[in-house]
Amino acid sequence: MISRRDFVKGGVALVSIGTTANSLLKGTLAFAAQHPADQITPNNGKILILVQMAGGNDGLNTVIPAGDPIYHSVRKAIGVADNDVLPLAQGFGLHPGLTGLKGLWDGGKLAVIRGVGYPDQNYSHFKSMAIWQAGDPDLKLQDGWLGRTLDKLETQSHDPFLGFNIGGSTPPEMQIATVAVPSVQSPADYGFKVNGRNAPASDPRIGTLMKLYEQYPAQSPYGVLLETTLESATSSASQLVAAAGSYKPAATYPKTSFGAGLSVLAEAIVGNLGMRVGHITLGGFDTHSKEVADHAKLMETLDQGLTAFYQDLAAQGRANDVLVLTWSEFGRRVQENANGGTDHGSASVMFALGSGVQTGFYGDQPSLSKLIDNGNLSFTTDFRQVYATVIERWLGTPSAPLLGKQWDQLGFIPAA
């Protein structure tokens, strides 16, 4: 299998063949030439699923400091009543919609990372997302943090599913020139059709189309992107069809697009497609108004999806291999606004879920009485500590080269 790396790092002789059988050989040769065996990260079989909660999730209404009287005084309209909070420990509890996660906490499968943020919080969605996606508040590191990680994790087999995204376009954190990440939005439509029907590999119209991409010179505008995206699409599509044939969900996924997407990720895991990093997004967390109803629905969607995903993997015997990590670009303002919502805030919570997780709280809860920036939480835990923990202790590759320095790691994944 030829990879994007071969196009980028190989010479032109290696990029002119494309998707024919010949490219398999040339891709392998090119990879070997660039990768002395001692520089390849051994595949430890561990898989990370990153869940983006886009829009800025209200951490205070997700993991609720029910024991803190200030919480109730600043959240008179949208605060969760003590009686409704699902208790965890230390006066903290989960939003009442997170019943499945509460069960996983009780079963020792869920860790909560509190007060996660970074210095000089940026309150713009897009800037803050870019910071998390790059893994760098200065935005000086190249590419996405998972893109850099995938580059290290790639092996000679060039699994097209090494990184796998549910959605329409490659998320910025997975972007890097050397690794193509397939995106699947609608599995039924993932493949070429001719006259409305799935095209067999031998279809002459599709065969000609493939030729046009192979012949498009790599040096021409977007040449590598176009050819490697097509290559990634066709090779991943045939593997996905094979995996779908042998996968039977062992849990009932909720009828949400989030649930459907998670089941495709489970299919890739159970089908042994070589995935090391999966990505899925749940959007709608920008709750400037009507937060009580909208946030409850989001919590329920998140909870039902992740719970089914965990149950499915556990039943398939793969729960030990998979870590789910959630993130959001920021939390919300401590004081609610007049529209039953909250404006942009700072530190928030992350969940780490899986059989390999050491349950408990990590990171201190920011004080509700010592606010910064006109009413926002002061972060206690740098998000790069979380990234470093996951890169090093879970995916098994050194984190300092990927994050620019060695960060203290957290105990939600036990040290080897």
């Binding site: 329409g168 193509a180 040096q219």
Partner: protein, 519 residues
């Protein structure tokens, strides 16, 4: 709920494109060393120029071609086709030939001075189509809104006006799903606002959009009160519409949010017939004095009893505003990497023209940068550009009903429903394995409805396989493809006897092929 940040794939201020990274690096590898003049490998953050769009004919595998990214496209036909693609959505073969004979200035003015252009054929077509642009309990409005606008783009005699409307929709964006399906009419009104102000003074456009009913709903200003100002509009006004991050403080956001409190619209009629009431509603801006904070505010160094209009005026006096909008327009029309001197020049136009969008767009459309090899095929084509470009180029008759298909939706550009308040991220994000399949499969649906070939008037007279392929390539991709591509198309076309099937098959291949995915 706030803005539905569903798929925020975006690196703010890290806009160096994949095109740059990959073409630059691959070309460097091809040459073996940095001998490729002008295609020096670009690293993000360096001040070097990025990789360019060399003519395919210049590129022979293994050779170290010498292409200057700043060189102007040599072929007048390519220049004309490039202008028609970027300033509109693509031309017919006849339009390309006609524009090829014009000076840059005449060509730009032909597109810019559209008020004088008769558009009655479009008006008649729209009237006959009878799209439902009002809320209906039976549904279907969102789809008809898309078909209505695509029809306008495809058949307008004023393509730059529709192009600008799309640019404003992507920049000063609102989402039907957040505004509310019942308020579809407000989204259409916002679209008409952008169309009628497409080349207006930017101050006037921003003043108008600040009071636009759909925008008031979309960014929550409709509920903002003196007691608890909602910051959503104030923040996005500065961050996304006018200044960009770093040119205001969080305190400026809080103060300006106070200035926009109490901004409301007239209520809709209430006769008990919801559909009728919504259809007859023509809301006007009103100030609800009791909810407006008339106290003293300090905003970007100005102190006084400022209201939202004052806020917009102050914003427009900031040097950052001119830089912001000229940079944005340059990146919409020309390429992603304007040189500082280019922006300085455009800011000069902003200042001297009294913030005229028309003057800025004209300056871009006649510039060397716009016609440079770096700009040629320098963008990934959006789904809307894909379908409208196909319809215009091949002169296809369609009512755009196929946009209801799953294949169209999976391309990920539903008009009136951008992913979030930043609009469509565009660029590389249009292309993924998922969308590449969707593009090809949408073209299959579009060109082979129910398995039968669609009528393609622009290709009807092509008798032989060679003529068919050459006509298609010339109309759609400037006949600028590798020889082997032309040959592969001829070889395949020669296997199909039926002329209509053959034409649709060749059109499919050229429209789904690599060159047409760029614009």
């Amino acid at each position: 709920m706030g803005t539905a940040l569903a798929d925020p794939n975006r690196f703010l201020e890290r806009t160096t494109s994949r095109r740059t990274i990959l073409t630059g690096t691959a070309a460097l590898a091809a040459a073996g060393a940095a001998t490729v003049a002008g295609i020096a490998a670009e690293s993000r953050g360096s001040s070097g120029r990025p990789g360019n769009g060399p003519k395919l004919s210049d590129l022979v595998a293994g050779s170290a071609s010498k292409v200057d990214p700043n060189a102007v496209i040599a072929d007048p036909t390519w220049r004309a086709a490039h202008l028609l693609r970027r300033a509109g959505f693509g031309g017919t073969a006849a339009e390309i030939d006609e524009f090829a004979g014009l000076s840059r200035e005449d060509a730009a003015d032909r597109l810019l001075n559209y008020d004088a252009v008769d558009n009655s054929a479009l008006d008649a077509r729209i009237a006959a189509a009878n799209f439902n642009l009002n809320y209906s309990t039976k549904g279907g409005t969102a789809l008809d809104m898309q078909r209505w606008w695509l029809t306008r783009m495809a058949y307008t005699a004023r393509p730059l006006q529709e192009r600008m409307t799309l640019i404003w929709h992507g920049l000063l964006t609102s989402q039907l799903s957040k505004v509310g399906a019942q308020f579809a009419r407000l989204m259409v009104a916002q679209n008409e606002l952008y169309r009628s102000n497409a080349l207006a003074q930017y101050d006037a456009l921003i003043q108008a959009v600040s009071k636009d009913p759909a925008m008031l709903y979309y960014l929550d200003n409709i509920d903002s009160t003196k007691a608890h100002p909602n910051e959503n509009y104030a923040r996005e006004l500065m961050e996304l519409f006018t200044l960009g991050v770093g040119n205001y403080s969080e305190q400026d956001i809080r103060e300006s949010a106070r200035a926009f409190t109490g901004w409301r619209i007239t209520p809709r009629p209430n006769t008990g017939d919801l559909e009728k009431d919504l259809a007859s509603w023509n809301p006007q801006f009103v100030l609800a004095a009791a909810q407006h904070d008339s106290g003293v505010k300090t905003f970007l160094g100005h102190t006084g009893n400022l209201d939202g209009t004052d806020i917009v005026d102050i914003i427009m006096q900031q040097p950052a505003a001119g830089r912001f909008i000229t940079t944005r327009l340059f990146k919409e029309f020309a390429n992603y990497d304007p040189a500082p001197a280019t922006i300085d020049r455009l800011v000069g136009v902003w200042d001297s023209s009294g913030h005229s969008i028309k003057a800025i767009v004209r300056a871009i459309l006649v510039s060397d940068e716009f016609y440079s090899l770096q700009s040629y095929r320098g963008f990934v084509r959006s789904p809307v550009e894909l379908i409208v470009g196909a319809v215009r180029g091949l002169q296809i008759e369609t009512d755009f009903a196929p946009v209801a298909s799953q294949e169209f939706r999976t391309m990920n550009q539903a008009l009136f429903e951008p992913p979030n308040v930043a609009g469509w991220p565009g660029g590389d994000s249009w292309l993924s394995s998922s969308t590449l399949f969707a593009r090809a499969n949408f073209l299959d649906v579009f060109l082979f409805p129910r398995g039968r070939p669609a009528a393609l008037p622009a290709l009807a007279s092509a008798a032989s396989a060679d003529t068919l392929v050459d006509t298609t390539l010339k109309t759609i991709v400037d006949a600028n493809v590798p020889d082997a591509t032309r040959q592969a198309l001829i070889d395949y076309a020669s296997t199909i006897a039926d002329p209509a099937l053959r034409a649709a098959a060749v059109a499919y291949l050229v429209l789904a092929g690599p060159e047409f995915q760029l614009i």
